[in-house]
Amino acid sequence: MPARCPAAITLALLLLAAWASPGQAIYADQAGQHDWLQQHVGRVSLAAFAAKPRARLFVASRAGAVAALSLKDGSLLWRRVLGEGDAATALQAAGARVLTLSGGGAQLTAWDAATGAAVWAANLAGSSDLAGPDAAALAVVADGKRSLAVAVAAGSAKGFDAVTGELLWTASLPSTKSAAAVKAAPAAAGGAWVASLQPGASRLAVDLVSPTGELVSSIVLGAGAQLSSTQLLLTEAAVAALSADGTQLCSAQLEQGGGSGSLGCQALASLLPPGTATEGAHLVAGTCSQHAALRVAGGAAALALGSGSGAAVTAFVPGAAASGCFRGAAGGQQVAFATPSAAGLETRVLSAADGTAVEAPVSVAGLAPQRVSGKLVGVAELFAAPLNMGGSQAVSQLAVFDDDSLALVRGGAQAWLRHEELASIRDLLFTDLPAPTPENEAQWLASQPSLRQSLAAQLVALKVQASRVGSLPLASPEELRQLERHKAVTSDKLRPTRDPDGFRKQLVVLTAGGKVLALHNGDSRLLWSLDFGPGAGLRKLALWRVPHDVQHDIEVVALAASPDSVTATVMNAHTGKILQTLTAPASQAAGAADGAPDVLPLSQPVHDGTADQHVFVVAPAGTDGAAAVLPDTPAARAAFVAARPGFAFWRVDEVAGAVRGYGFTESGAVEERWSAVLAPPAPAGSSATQQRILALAAHTPGEAVGSPARVLGSGELKFKYLNPNTLLVAVGEPRGARSGHSGGDDSAAAGPRLTVTLLDAVSGRVLFSQTHEDATGPVHAVLSENTAVYHFWGSEAHRWQVASVELFDASPTTLRVSDLAFSETNTTTSSWDVPPIEAGAQTFLVRHAVRGLAATRSARGNTAKQVMLLTTTGQVYLVDRRLLDPRRPIVAPGQKPTPQQAAEGLPPYQPELPLQGPMFATLDRQVARLSGAAVEAAVLESTMLLAAHGLDLFYTRLTPSRSFDMVPDDFPYALLVLILGGLTVATVVLKFITRRTAVKAKWL
């Protein structure tokens, strides 16, 4: 029966299509398709190499991260982030554990070296018992087969089993009590040396503690000079310290036995080669017995300690950074040196004993970070250890550059480079990628796999889909990996050019260290970077020129403001070339208050023939200063003059507790237009808690509004009050303002109040104001369309709360059908119009503490709005606008909403906002220390791009109303073709059958 054949195909297709469920929800296997998370540690301050059980690198950073990195490719194996403001001050690897001291030296934590889980922890001292993080020390001492963690703080030494955390002994060390600096190191004879220095003292106390916790000996070593509490170094058999003024090096060998001795002190100028700059001297900790390394401004030296009268310099490398002294593979004591040079980082390993070369100087080509001024970026820290990797023995050197980047050098070559400067992003901007050209298209095609490879991959893909349906393991893991690789290489999201849908963009970021980097949003690869250095004072990034044609490149600008000028550095966004540097004077009127000028963008760019030129107005601090225009061209000046009458900006006066509105006079001088004292200073002697301006929020310019009106359930039309100059000011008590006298007599007084005012920033008119009782800061707010949403602490409920305010223009409608049909809809309200305003407000409870709020924005504003909560746990949680709508109907439990309520499509009111797992934009990942987010609308209305930054950088696509305007990525094109093919076959076969039947029928 020929008819069976298409039927069989159909059935097969039915089965194949089983996975194609409607909609575009994110399934676990879709994670990573359009999102990525780049995890960072920040500027590394401590590092430890471990050879066993696996070759690993453990690092601790100033930002408070403790992490394990792969030595092979630098990937992050695990990372823990300590509390804000905290950082590890000691890091030791001990077999299966990594030990850190944190919390100012008071907290000892052991992390699992394989997973990063906290295994055991001990509190060593009260925070008031320690003079600072230098007053606690940690050493790992071998005791037979066991590793012993010796922690010294506040007058006692404690011995822990490094693996289990069992406290084995406590030894009293009175000399370490109230010490300014304490160091501990394993002693060559077993046990641990503990050196301590009292504040301002010129004598060191050195104790030897046995592995069983007995105090074996105590020595006091006198030096002729006052010693520095930060530059103290202890090795297995020697001690060294710098004098408090940093000019002398004092050292002595350590021997068992009590009594007193002395440190031999020498001037650094006499130790080091003549003419060496000796400023900024510091000792580099290491693991040798009698050798150490010293860094000064002019270079680095290897030292032999306590030989004869003091220390001797065995090797000196000018301009270099030195690692701590370490034991080489053959047992010798070595120091690694790295010198930045234009040809690449020059590394060498010298014997600390005699200065002979262990590894000859090699220049690591390509590893030569440079500032835009041409100055080489220095090496801030160098760590080195001999490690056996892949059968070869070589010294691995970890270089931390001044720009925070982290590189591992091995065998004279760069093993990997991590851009840790991305851990401190200050500003982020999305821009278009270059337009497709024949050249870059050809380049892309050349990087693509061949047709045969693609066919093979398609076959595997079919197998995978079939195995998903039948739950059969048809594809081998190797094939799956192959498919993943193929997908990764061929994915359209990686093309180096822009696409018509506006999905492929580049992220231009500005870091705290003054670096500007461009990343591809497909896979976070670095496109270009420019290092201006922290001295450039860059604060903000903005679009500069957007060409109308595709031949020209987009230009971006980095702005830096000083009290008397604003500097704009214009860069080509596609090549990273600096095009020009413009300076605008911020001429203040005489006697005006000091302060940075405001740089204000004009709302509309200037069309100057071939491009849209963005214009910035520099408004000097204070009043009466003359405004300047960037760029200072006739067209830009004309645009400013045209915009001047309606141009307004605002400043916050913290001292007076006021917000002031400013504008420009005819002559272009800054003039104050209005001021609102919202938090007047409490009169002297008043017991009232000071009210402060806690938060300010304004509209993001250029927000698209889908519709200026809302249809209610009753069919009534409500017009949104869409004033782009709306300003939200929250005034109240910061959290904890009353903690000093909580439970006291003020319990009878009124609780803290939070007042939120919506102002018009042009006229200073109050649009809306409401007060929350028993509410305090911190307050975070966002404005979008006619809605203001803010997040605050409800002290009575002891919960976080979110309030939303919606403003409507209540003036009688003059809208006619003809207006809708023939005139353009105006979606903004002028600040000069004073319509009656109708406001709705509602407050909800929410689980998340937040670091900020943001709102989604789409190309045309039709897609559902969502408010983004940037949580303290590093997640971005999306709350649908409808859930925050003040009009959510109150429906008694057990009852159904009325038809009118149901027609509005709002969920019934619940005091608490729901928590739904799929509403996390960050999926199951966390952006450590989340600090901000940027949203960019794609060309397609349904989609927007989100980048969230903090210590990490996360990127994803958002589709709040699902992808209604595009074919889903997993659309089974093959199935469509098969069905169409099947239909064609069926048609042909049918025709044949009908003919045959007809003929048969006629023969009958």
Partner: protein
Amino acid sequence: MQSTIMRSLPLLLAALLVARAALAEEQAAVLPVHGKLFVPDGASLAQAEVALQLESGRRLLAFPLPDGAFSFAEVPVGVHTLTADVHGLIYPTVRLDVGTARKGKVAAVAADATGMPALPYPLLLRPYSRIEYFEKRQPFSLWAFLKTPYGMMAGFMLFSVFIMPKLKVDPEEYREMMADRERERSGGSGGGGQKRRSD
């Protein structure tokens, strides 16, 4: 002289003790807080954190040990908020009263549960529920499939293969059929003519 000192020694000692006690009272502005997270099977504590948001605005972090135990050594007296962040689990938000209601004692209530029930101290926190970050793939449903464009296309295909041939009536054949019936009814025996008329 010596005897005077000897006599006043107990007094001095007592005074010292009182001073010490007063000092201790002063220093008791901090208290330790201990607790434990209960973790259901299948959840991992490897990346878990417990955050204590102090009323002063500072945020302290503790890392639970493998048994779920966590501790903050020095928590200032006040009313703070404790939250646990464990991948895939939702724990109660705890209102932690450290030494304000009762001196030297810590009391805890679940702030986000109705009625704010008291929690035991030392804390033992049990998760409210699990949280799924991803949508679950729906098992195959024929009806849902039939509603998709593919389902409709496949349905149409089946229809065209199996049903359509049965529906196919050529107008010419229909006329012939009707004519045949007409002839049969009239009793005529012109059946052969039909056979001959095949084209």
